[in-house]
Symmetry: C2
Subunit: 493 residues, 2 copies
């Protein structure tokens, strides 16, 4: 039996064990609509009016329509024209429990939480009394195995930016072997010059998305429009495996492709190091999301982790989009069964605030090195705590696995039924995608037609449709999505 | 009469005119404490206990003590040991109306605002129905003259990062003269290479602070500890004027110093441009805050603005700390009376969320170039709207000018009384600072002793004490600060 298959089977059996331990999920009782209902063009007349208003104050290229968040419920998003969408994109994958979940409403209706909203503290200097307990009950309660520390941040980009800084500081602290920085380092850094601002690098992958601020953007390689015209850094970029789906039918080719990429990782470590530009870390997504839902095997990630150890570099797993249960595990990298945990794991989106988990080794060695005014926001932790509790109490990971299985089976059925239109249905949990054979235009047409049928979904990569529903998305919702897509595809055929 | 003096007088007379138009401020009726009250060591026993708890989960180098935000009121911060501080630092200058202001409590008690908190939208894609009106009533209502557009962001660093990107995009769009990007540009940018990721630069000043993410950090030059070990970009860094205070007594020297710095700005534009590394913009704070409360004259800024025009570069004013009324004007750069407004003005902190104002010219020319998942948060706009309304209704700018005048006069008196300890009292509105002659250690001792007397203040630069009270800080609070400082200085003498 191949290593890849062994790995997959071992991941599966570990999932089965989890299933075994957990009770079957309760059928969720959600206060929501029976199904989508579309009354106007999308965007409707009221949305168009608001679009004109907003456009006089701000660019609006990306606005799809305007929403009525008060009326939205569970898996259903309501727009200002009264249209009701089954939402499988959930605000770019950032709402864990759908709309107006009672557990979250309860947090914000609690007068005790009001003062943290009105008096947003400088969390690093003057935390509120309940901050340690909140961190414990929200973030640390779901900390990745082996990562005992956390820093809170406001968004995904800030999380990655600060994680990169933590890696560079860790690397230089090791280099100094306990010695303090030299006067020359302290002087030169003020002018952006070496040795104080050293010529260190961080490795990323083609197709990656880690954010849009300048440090993050140097490691983002998903779409030209994100990067065009912005000065960048010469940091190593390794090829991310381009696997064939279904993975189990292309085992040998996929293994060879992953081998090719890992060889390049080795080569880039050697090339940059010998050029005096040390590679201090590697950043990677468990599934490349914005880049087109590109998967790699647990084996690939295990070997990547081993390579970082070999070269004394940090291993940073960016779980901003893959985290919080969407793959059927809390963190996607749980499925890799690493012997050594990652050094740093970043999060945002469905955690409702950002930050990064890290090992003891990656604690900043003095004050104000990893810092900003707000460092996130305590009210986000209060909401995150409610999310963690709800996922546990309602057994939502099992729900994700069941709904995901129905959705993926349905998409696989559709790609067999419409072989000229669809291919490569793939996914973990409800983190599911499928490719459109007619490229960009074909994909966008399907997304628009789905919207007209009341399914709010999203694209990624060049020709991919991605599903990013909330954790309360259930098998019967998955069936609605598949049926709507069936109709759309039949109309195109 | 010198130009500098003319300028100052003209600024003053414009202020006077404003005063004339506005009614004298009502004496604010605030529900707050009569004065500070300190019962324990700082940090007290409960704070120490919580510090130990938090330190097992996260670094805590910067924690001063833990707070009871429910009990804090107006200008007074209450800690977990029951100590009451008169707070003139206000969460690193980020609370506009002090603690638990009724106008903000009202916003968050309004059930209509609950859904924007629970259902945080991807604002760029799916804004709520009231978003255009909210933007109008909060941000646009106080937009700097000439800047009709705004983009919302989550924090100060993201605001500057995206403003920098907007400048680079604007510059390259001009260069192309309407032509689309070349295939070579679209390909090379994916690998961080020129011409797609061009070698453009942005000028900043010694002593500046614009944030800590990698792009911002390349323009931050206030303290080595912020920059040490982080790779950076070779961008031009001009000297910021080191003026002598009081400004009116050192006119000729200060004018010469500003001339020297402006000559260097010219030289750097020429040097970088001739090296094929165009300087696309200049970023500057109206008063360098973190760098030590360094002032420059309106004349200096007017000439800087003219220089950017001359070289076809953008002029970005970072008002993250100086904005929102603290100088006695809504924006500090209002006092410069520019003929041409800045191209971009960034904000955060007291605006309660981040973003940047800009002219029509700086609108992104296509979708997803300036974008992220959340793009700020609508609930912050609802609060900002209440701040704008409260400042207007309660005439808080005039209050700031009056309280600031009492505080600055008091500090000037103290520096005369303690000439071996203090010098350089300076400020605009309540944005006030004073230097400690004994350097870092002396400054930190005074800050600690002030805390023991119930005054919560902050430091900046190497030896400066900075005052950053809320807009509801009144003359009688200023007197308390001066009296407490008098006692502290007398004990040191």
């Amino acid at each position: 039996m191949s290593l890849l298959r062994k790995t997959l089977q071992s991941s599966l059996s570990s999932l089965k064990q989890v299933r075994h331990v957990l009770a079957a999920p309760k059928k969720l009782s959600l206060d929501e609509f029976d199904g989508p209902s579309i009354k106007t063009d999308i965007p409707g007349p009221r949305s168009k009016e608001l679009l004109r208003e907003l456009n006089s104050l701000s660019t609006t290229h990306e606005v799809q329509f305007f929403c009525n968040y008060e009326e939205s419920k569970g898996n259903y998003l309501v727009d200002v024209d009264g249209n009701v969408f089954l939402d499988i994109f959930m605000q770019i994958s950032s709402l864990p429990l759908g709309y107006n979940h009672p557990a979250l409403l309860k947090v914000l209706n609690d007068p005790a939480n009001l003062s943290t909203l009105v008096n947003r503290p400088a969390l690093g200097n003057l935390p509120p009394a309940d901050f340690p307990l909140r961190v414990q009950n929200s973030l640390i309660a779901v900390a990745p195995k082996g990562l005992t520390n956390v820093k809170t941040m406001a968004c995904g980009s800030c999380s990655n930016e600060n994680a990169y800084k933590a890696i560079f500081m860790w690397y230089m602290t090791k280099q100094r072997g306990g010695a303090p920085p030299s006067p020359e380092e302290l002087e030169t850094c003020m002018y952006n010059k070496s040795p104080g601002a050293p010529d260190l690098t961080l490795m990323s992958f083609t197709g990656a998305f880690h954010g849009r601020t300048l440090g993050c953007l140097a490691t983002t390689h998903s779409k030209a429009i994100h990067k065009l015209d912005i000065p960048s850094l010469d940091w190593p970029i390794a090829p991310f495996p381009q696997l064939k789906y279904p993975l189990e039918e292309h085992e040998a080719e996929n293994r060879a492709e992953e081998r090719r990429c890992l060889d390049q990782v080795h080569a880039l470590f050697r090339e940059y190091t010998s050029a005096g530009r040390p590679v201090c870390g590697v950043v990677v997504e468990p599934v490349q999301a914005e880049g087109g839902d590109n998967h790699a095997s647990p084996e690939f990630f295990r070997e990547l982790r081993a390579i970082t150890k070999e070269y004394g570099a940090a291993f940073l797993v960016d779980e901003v989009q893959t985290g919080v249960g969407v793959t059927g595990s809390w963190w996607a990298h749980d499925l890799w069964q690493l012997d050594d945990p990652p050094d740093i794991v970043t999060f945002a989106k469905k955690m409702l605030g950002g930050g990064y988990f890290h090992t003891e080794e990656f604690r900043a060695n003095s004050g104000y090195r990893i810092f900003n005014t707000w460092l996130g926001e305590p009210s986000k932790l209060a909401m995150c705590e409610a999310v963690v509790k709800t996922v546990q109490e309602e057994n939502l990971l099992e729900n994700v696995r069941q709904a995901g299985s129905v959705l993926l089976d349905g998409l696989k059925h559709l790609q067999t039924k419409y072989p000229t239109q669809l291919e490569n249905a793939r996914g973990l949990g409800t983190f599911i995608a499928i490719d459109c054979k007619g490229g960009d235009a074909h994909r966008n047409k399907i997304l628009t037609d789905l919207k007209r049928k009341g399914i709010q979904s999203g694209g990624c990569g060049e020709r991919t449709i991605r599903c990013r529903p909330a954790l309360i998305f259930q098998p019967h919702h998955a069936e609605m999505v598949v049926n709507a897509m069936d109709e759309v595809l039949a109309e195109q055929a």
